[in-house]
């Protein structure tokens, strides 16, 4: 394990512990950790095990997924602008999740929610890859992303507006901005299998992505099956983004910022960027989730607000750089 990975692991672990200690109920750190281990039905144990622990675990799962998916997509398309949130994959996953909830599928069948979100993400990824083409030029990628995001977002809002439930319309904000507030262990169990499966699929792409940096022909001569690589990328991304979006809504810019920051530190090698980016994503979402609880605790600030505040300026910087490189 390199020094970078060690540092990232320490960072994630530290933020995970901090996440367990921060919350509106003022519990002394020692008490809260004891409550976590003790179990039972007393209030401290309930708060720790049913509110804070799921929240911290989900932050790691969601952040890791978004970081990993971002790095994998950027590696495949060889374009630093590819990111699940930006190119509409998260938005289409959210659409799937909303349809599952509103149609009653999520209530009737336990895995209905993550499966529908996965299906949404699958459609989103395939559309992006089809529209952007195998080379994924910056312009087509962004245009495809805008179109898919707008479409999926509009249908999501339409479904919520047509709902019989008076509270449904307010949820547009959640599906646009994402939040980890008041999730439970049920959500962890829903997301975990798909997330782990997706991580496994994406983590194995490293060698193929490394070869792809030399160009498609070179990669093919090195024995990389491009069609298979693409299929695995689509499936893996759909799994992780679908599961993450189903439980936490759409959290943007994580998959953009994290690989961008870490790329120079791993020598721009995709196989090394993948795990680093997963850890970096987990750290970023953990940090953002701690921040929403500290900045304005009484306001239920959404996660996506913070990640966008960090991510959007970087996005502009990337576009500016891309433009300068073009003649």
């Amino acid at each position: 394990m390199t020094r970078l990975m060690l540092a990232l692991c320490t960072l994630v672990f530290g933020l995970f512990c901090l996440s367990l200690l921060v919350g509106p109920a003022r519990i002394a750190p020692a008490d809260s950790l004891l409550g976590l281990l003790r179990g039972g039905l007393d209030p401290v144990a309930m708060v720790m095990r049913e509110i804070r622990l799921p929240r911290a675990i989900l932050a790691v799962l969601v952040g890791g997924s978004l970081g990993l998916a971002g790095a994998a997509m950027q590696g495949y398309l060889r374009n630093p602008l590819a990111e699940p949130g930006l190119i509409g994959v998260s938005a289409s996953a959210a659409l799937g999740a909303v349809i599952a909830i509103q149609s009653g599928l999520a209530a009737a069948f336990m895995l209905g929610l993550p499966l529908m979100a996965l299906a949404g993400a699958l459609v989103g990824v395939m559309l992006v890859l089809a529209l952007a083409g195998p080379r994924g030029g910056a312009l087509t990628l962004i245009l495809a992303g805008i179109a898919i995001s707008a479409m999926a977002g509009a249908i999501t809002q339409l479904v919520l507006n047509l709902s019989k439930n008076p509270f449904a319309v307010n949820e547009i904000v959640f599906w646009m901005m994402g939040s980890l507030a008041d999730r439970s262990l049920t959500h962890v169990w829903l997301a975990l299998p798909f997330t782990l499966l997706g991580w496994l699929v994406l983590a194995r792409l490293g060698r193929g992505l490394d070869a792809l940096t030399l160009g498609e022909d070179a990669a093919a001569t090195m024995g990389v099956h491009l069609g298979r690589l693409r299929l695995m990328l689509v499936l893996g991304t759909a799994c992780v983004v679908g599961a993450a979006t189903a439980v936490a809504g759409t959290i943007g810019f994580v998959g953009l910022v994290v690989p961008h920051l870490l790329r120079p530190l791993v020598g721009a090698q995709p196989s090394r960027l993948l795990p680093a980016s997963a850890l970096g994503g987990a750290a970023m979402v953990l940090a953002a989730d701690i921040a929403v609880r500290l900045v304005v605790p009484e306001r239920d600030l959404k996660l996506g607000v913070l990640t966008a505040l960090v991510g959007a300026p970087l996005f502009l910087h990337l576009i500016y750089k891309t433009r300068k490189e073009q003649p």
Binding site: A25, S163, P166, F167, F174, D182, E298
Partner: protein
């Protein structure tokens, strides 16, 4: 359990007096066909759920020509049966104006643009503030009586309401309760729901915590109330209501006693808040029986 039934029967008996008073009022005016006073508005349109109910309780037959769509929904309206035969509106200036009303009754939070347009078009608009306390109920009833030219009917209803309210006493220990709505909201004593809870013989944990609006789930768990009172979920799922099924809330409800807010009695400041208070007193009796 028997004690609980006995107590709730007692509460119900008193309450049925009020309900029969409302029914009698509606029925009497229907049978006698008592026309509204001369000079009183003859074509009243209501664009707010709460004014719908007040207007239907007090109006002469045929005096209210349109109410909101919600007024006929039994879940949120105490006057659903009466509203069923009255054409519904969806609160848009255009359709209201086409009804040619001589009075529009609206809530404080009805769309300002709609009301301004109606006023510009020369339609009188009477605005009702929401009830924030039990004391606001008689005032709103009187205001509606004035607006509709049904002062005597309003006075009769107010007298009955005040007598029934004064008759409620809740001696003994006051269990700690939490009101917990969709999106994790709660209300304190300076709200109608908070006052209903207090009149039902409970102390509100929102008051201890100084929580206004959102009550973080963690604080609810730490406060460990004797009773959690939640809303009824609406048809069609929502994430906002899913919080009421969170393991922590479910555990609190299992461990202790739980109550349900019947929206129609809790939302609007009509005399039917007495029914909500009766529900809370029955809940408290149930809690005492368990101890």
């Amino acid at each position: 359990m028997e004690r609980r039934i006995a107590l709730s029967t007692l509460v119900c008996v008193r309450l049925s007096r009020l309900i029969s008073a409302v029914a009698a009022l509606v029925l009497a005016s229907a049978l006698a066909g008592a026309p509204a006073l001369a000079g009183a508005p003859q074509r009243v349109v209501s664009v707010n759920l709460c004014t719908d109910q007040l207007a239907l309780m007090l109006a002469a037959p045929g005096q209210v020509i349109s109410v909101t769509k919600l007024a006929a929904v039994p879940r949120v309206s105490t006057m659903a049966a009466q509203a069923a035969d009255i054409p519904a509106n969806s609160g848009l200036a255009e359709e209201i104006y086409m009804l040619q009303p001589d009075l529009v009754v609206a809530g404080r939070f009805t769309d300002r643009a709609t009301l301004d347009m109606l006023r510009r078009l020369g339609v009188p608009v009477e605005v009702f503030s929401p009830a924030y306390a039990l004391q606001d109920v008689p005032q709103r009833v009187r205001q509606m009586g004035q607006a509709l030219g049904r002062v005597a009917e309003a006075q009769a209803l107010v007298q009955r309401f005040e007598a029934d309210l004064a008759a409620i006493s809740t001696p003994g220990p006051r269990p700690r309760a939490a009101l917990y709505y969709a999106n994790g909201y709660t209300s304190g004593d300076s709200s109608l729901a908070g006052q209903i809870l207090r009149a039902g013989g409970f102390d509100n944990i929102a008051q201890e915590l100084g929580a206004i609006g959102a009550l973080p789930l963690e604080l609810l768990a730490m406060a460990n109330p004797d009773v959690v009172v939640t809303g009824q979920p609406y048809p069609g799922a929502s994430r906002a209501e899913a919080i009421m099924q969170h393991p922590v809330v479910a555990q609190l409800k299992r461990q202790h006693t739980s109550g349900t807010m019947t929206d129609r009695d809790w939302v609007c400041g009509t005399p039917y808040v007495l029914r909500a208070i009766a529900d809370m007193r029955a809940l408290r009796a149930q809690l005492e029986a368990q101890r």
